[in-house]
């Protein structure tokens, strides 16, 4: 039986934003009775139930209230209205190594940090070696952390948090930091957590992480919960809210126009516009970036007539990383056999930066291709079906 791990029940949160910040007594006394603040509504009546064992991504642009929601779940912020219920031990990874004291050694900081999460000395003794192993800091653990590199710092912070044996883990953007090897390690640790049936809530604006890791995603926009669905559809909604309404064919892009012209070719394009099921297709994409991108990732998504995605892959998943991108470049993507039935299929592309998780540009339905089937089967996918007896 599945139990709820987290229940967010009608939660609203508003902040008083001082129009002129007062931090001194004098200013406070002078302004008594005169309200010099505005009320900012960060969350509006959020209802959300997360079951044990789910991994949920919270997507939203800056200021959408996603971090506020996470802090309310963590119990760091108190909701203005509504309540939050959590089952079991909770660990929040809102900032790696929060509260590390530079003058204390790694060992001392591990103990204090874990104690802030409510662990006793004996509990920490038991997992201490695991923490050090995971952080790969065995030889530096008795050095003051001020001598650590930022990567070592982050590794130690993450190692403490994942060894707290939490039932519910809250993670805020932290996977974007640290080197690549460590990111992979973190992700695999998180997948391990998933397989152990722990509940994980992720806050991020890196849609790709959500697609890779989560089995559910919610989208916040200006403090409202606008979507609660599988990652694919949720990411689509997130982009619509991020970029305004979609224009078919050419959606507005974010920041730079990195994805330029996109052309579709197939071997018989001079005879007919459409291709037949099983024929090959080539997509040519002109890319141009203003600043070099060390680890670019190109995502390809093909949708069906209704706009539902039927296929998605990215260059990393293909095992064909693009390599450093600097200036202009044309990428050719070949689809060996398009085993689809009748219809016009929209193609969406996204260029992102693996190191920062940032979406550089994305084009929803940037082009389409047409498949015409001369058989009588219908549906979306062309399968080779015979009756053999």
């Amino acid at each position: 039986m599945t139990l709820e791990a987290i229940v967010v029940d009608g939660v609203s949160k508003s902040f008083r934003i001082a129009t002129e910040p007062t931090h001194s007594l004098k200013e406070r006394l002078v302004r008594i009775g005169r309200a010099s603040y505005e009320v900012f509504h960060a969350l509006h009546d959020i209802d959300l139930t997360i079951d044990q064992g789910q991994t949920v991504g919270i997507l939203g642009h800056n200021g959408s209230g996603k971090s506020t929601l996470l802090k309310c779940i963590a119990g760091i912020l108190t909701p203005t209205r509504g309540r939050v219920l959590v089952r079991g031990r909770l660990a929040s990874l809102l900032e790696l190594g929060a509260g590390f004291h530079p003058d204390l050694t790694g060992r001392e900081n591990v103990y204090i940090n874990a104690a802030f999460y409510g662990m006793g000395r004996r509990d920490i003794d038991r997992v201490f070696d695991d923490i050090v192993d995971f952080a790969e800091l065995a030889q530096f653990i008795d050095e003051p952390v001020k001598h650590y590199s930022s990567g070592m710092y982050v590794r130690l912070g993450f190692a403490v948090a994942v060894n707290l044996d939490p039932d519910v883990l809250l993670v805020d953007e932290v996977l974007a930091v640290g080197d690549e090897v460590f990111q992979v390690k973190c992700l695999s640790r998180i997948k391990e957590f998933q397989s152990e049936g722990r509940t994980i809530v992720f806050v991020t604006h890196a849609a790709e992480t959500v697609r890779q890791v989560c089995d559910r995603a919610i989208v916040l926009d200006h403090g409202h919960l606008v979507e609660d669905a599988a990652p694919g559809p949720a990411i689509r909604i997130f982009r619509e809210h991020l970029h305004g309404q979609l224009e078919p064919g050419r959606a507005p892009s974010r920041g730079q126009d990195a994805i330029g012209d996109v052309r579709v070719h197939h071997p018989h394009e001079h005879e007919r516009r459409h291709l037949l099921p099983g024929e090959s297709l080539t997509i040519e994409v002109d890319l141009r970036v203003e600043q070099p991108v060390a680890r670019p990732v190109l995502d390809l998504e093909i949708g069906d007539r209704t706009g539902q995605p039927i296929f998605h892959v990215d260059s990393d998943a293909l095992g064909q990383p693009l390599g450093r991108l600097d200036g202009a470049r044309t990428i050719r993507i070949e689809i060996g056999g398009v085993w689809l039935l009748d219809g016009e299929f929209p193609v969406s592309l996204q260029l992102s930066d693996r190191t920062t998780g940032e979406v550089i540009d994305w084009r929803e339905r940037v082009t389409t291709f047409e498949v015409a089937d001369d058989g009588r089967a219908d549906g979306t996918v062309a399968l080779d079906v015979k009756i053999v007896e």
Partner: protein, 300 residues
Amino acid sequence: MVQLARPSTQDAPELRLMAARRSVVEHVREISRFRELVGMLVRKELTVRYQHSTLGFVWSMIQPLFLLIVYSVVFAILRAGFADFAIWVLCGLLVWTLVSTSLTTATQSITSNASLVGKVKFPRAVLPLSSVGAALVHFCLQAVAFAVILAVTRHDVAWSYMWLVPVALLTCAIVCAAMALLLAPLNVYARDTTHLLELLVLGWFWATPILYQYERAASWFGRQGFGEWILLVNPVTPIVITVQRAIYGTDTVDDLRLLPASGPAWYLGVLLATAAAWGVVLALSLRAFDRADIHLAETL
């Protein structure tokens, strides 16, 4: 409203309300779950304080010794004071250092840990409380140094009053904890609490019989038509006079008319009354802290 229709199974933990208002009892229980954290923070505060000095903890012992020399020399030259005046002053001064460092460090305990308060959920009261704890440990170290001084100078202490010293210390801890829990969140809302506290500490020092004798002040107040008890309203006074009574000595005290010539029972009574009154203040402070706690993370 979300309906919680599904019953929970036997072995699964219960759903727990996050960020709930606590009663004083619940608050104390929560803090005691984090007592190991308090212990670690006390150690941390002391480690950090002495880390970069070669003598380390020895410094906290040198301080009373140095003060002893200064007061002996100055008051000998001025021909003020009375027999063993330096010992008398040290009794009060050590207690006073405990009070003033507790309050000064506790006031800044939350603001200086801002990043932690905004990122991790824990009972924030452990921050000011561990400042008080660190000051207590520091006091004990100084007390050891003081004991050595007493032994070396062959000073006679009043053994029949000595058992009151732990009671006085406990009272002191209650008073400091109550004030610390009020000052720390106050400093989040108005940063000049720190400056206000400096003035308060200065005035409070002179309102406490450390450099003068209790009996003289009490009789002056008596002549002005106040009750002599008015001095005892200052919660540090009963603590200080108890320590002075126990340490300063048996015979000399009554002859010199420095302290109330009462038996240990009187001192105990005054201490218990102070502890009880400030116990109530402590409970109210916890309650006030809890209310302030709700907005701490967003105000920082």
